[in-house]
Symmetry: C2
Subunit: 305 residues, 2 copies
Amino acid sequence: MSLVVVGSVAYDAVETPHGRVDRMLGGACTYIALAAGYFTEVGIVAVVGDDFAAEDQALLTDHGIDLAGLERVPGKTFFWAGVYSPDMNERTTLRTDLNVFADFQPKLPESYRARPYLLLGNIQPALQRSVRAQMNGLRVAGGDTMNYWIRDYRPELLATIREWDFLLINDSEARMLSGEHNLRRAAQAILDMGPRTLVIKRGEYGAILFRRDSFFIVPGYLLEQVFDPTGAGDCFAGGFIGYLAARGLSLEDPGMDRRELSRAVIYGSVLGSFCCERFGVDRFRTLTRAEIDARFQEFKDFTDF
Amino acid sequence: MSLVVVGSVAYDAVETPHGRVDRMLGGACTYIALAAGYFTEVGIVAVVGDDFAAEDQALLTDHGIDLAGLERVPGKTFFWAGVYSPDMNERTTLRTDLNVFADFQPKLPESYRARPYLLLGNIQPALQRSVRAQMNGLRVAGGDTMNYWIRDYRPELLATIREWDFLLINDSEARMLSGEHNLRRAAQAILDMGPRTLVIKRGEYGAILFRRDSFFIVPGYLLEQVFDPTGAGDCFAGGFIGYLAARGLSLEDPGMDRRELSRAVIYGSVLGSFCCERFGVDRFRTLTRAEIDARFQEFKDFTDF
């Protein structure tokens, strides 16, 4: 079933211990859409400037992504530059030029409004809320956020996630949002805020899916080399929602097989792990669905007892 | 099948965010033996001073632990004092009084020498090696070490672990021993040093078992509250070797079901998690085998997909 993805499309400059790229396609919406596109039909809502390259647009359309909601305006595309620490567990932002993204007001094309799945990438919470309000017939809506919105836009953020079926954040964000250090208690506090499903991403340590009455934990995939972790969390989100959409799952169906949700977490983990294997979106230029399914099977093999 | 455990028996002073105990039974050998004792017959080799309390000895004998190798000498028992950081991910040693442990020369009682399983807790590598040399008919021998021996006793340590079937260390020790930051590559380097099975403990993030041709990853158990992590790694070791011994497994049997090793890792994780629920060894005063098996089943439930 069809999915709408909202968020940033950007150009990134990234330096990791393995090299440096001065300008490459990035942005949460880009990563989410590319990952989800392996599972289901995806339409994006985003804004780019008149510097947005034809070859970058072609990468998206080659992956079957519907660009009806990609607005082009005069000016430059959002630009971000960052550098990773030697162990890649920390990154420092060197530069953020919002450019055309500063005035982003997501407008849904008519053709998107009745689509059943919605993934709201990390943008200003009130904008996320405005997108959700433009849709009718949603089966599953959820998204991501970040420390900045949690700290400085808390009331807007709480009003926004109250309407979501799932929230997908990392462990430090979960601690900040809940005020609880212990993840199990942090999760219970967040589930009280509205979303009945919470996925906490733990970077190299994997992810946890929490529901009121159960949880599922997956360890991270052991890559031999992490080339560039930029976008891995967004690819996780794309794999997760992509699988839900492909299977037509509703998170509130009482008869749902709990393991379907767990499999969505595994597919999220698989896509996040592939993302780290090359700079930026490069891995997606060659990645096949067969490779994705083979890695899903690897997860089965190395967690089975 | 019967297991011999060698290491420290100590008194500890521990402060965590949940409280403080000025003097309680501790030491690697104590934790390993208590954990392994739920699975198999255990005999210990250790030394204590004349201050070793009757009630602490009783705790060990009540758990069926054979004290034939527990030497008592004039002087005080090994004493360690430490304090944990607020998030309990770091601890600072405040005091280490080796006392009678300074002259520890492990001597195996005749009754231990033909036992098939040996777990060498973290002590001076040459002493670990001398113990192994006193045994005949070993089926599985392995143990633990720490940063101090890796850094300052490297040749002795390498000669020692070359004779082991398995090595059980934490992630920072694995990185230090191998010189590789990436755990997958660190593991391959360590497997070249002798032990054909390597277990890397990752604290709250679980553990990984590496073999030349496969690996198994388990996430950590999500405790609602970590009361005191002291001894958790040793309890992991005890659960791991205890299960191997109970099942009579050899790590070199080509026909072995790989999942038996994975189950040993799960039982290690289960025992480590219980250890954190109370101060020191307190949880073992009430812990039952039924509780252990119930938590093993929980691991099944929250990792199944």
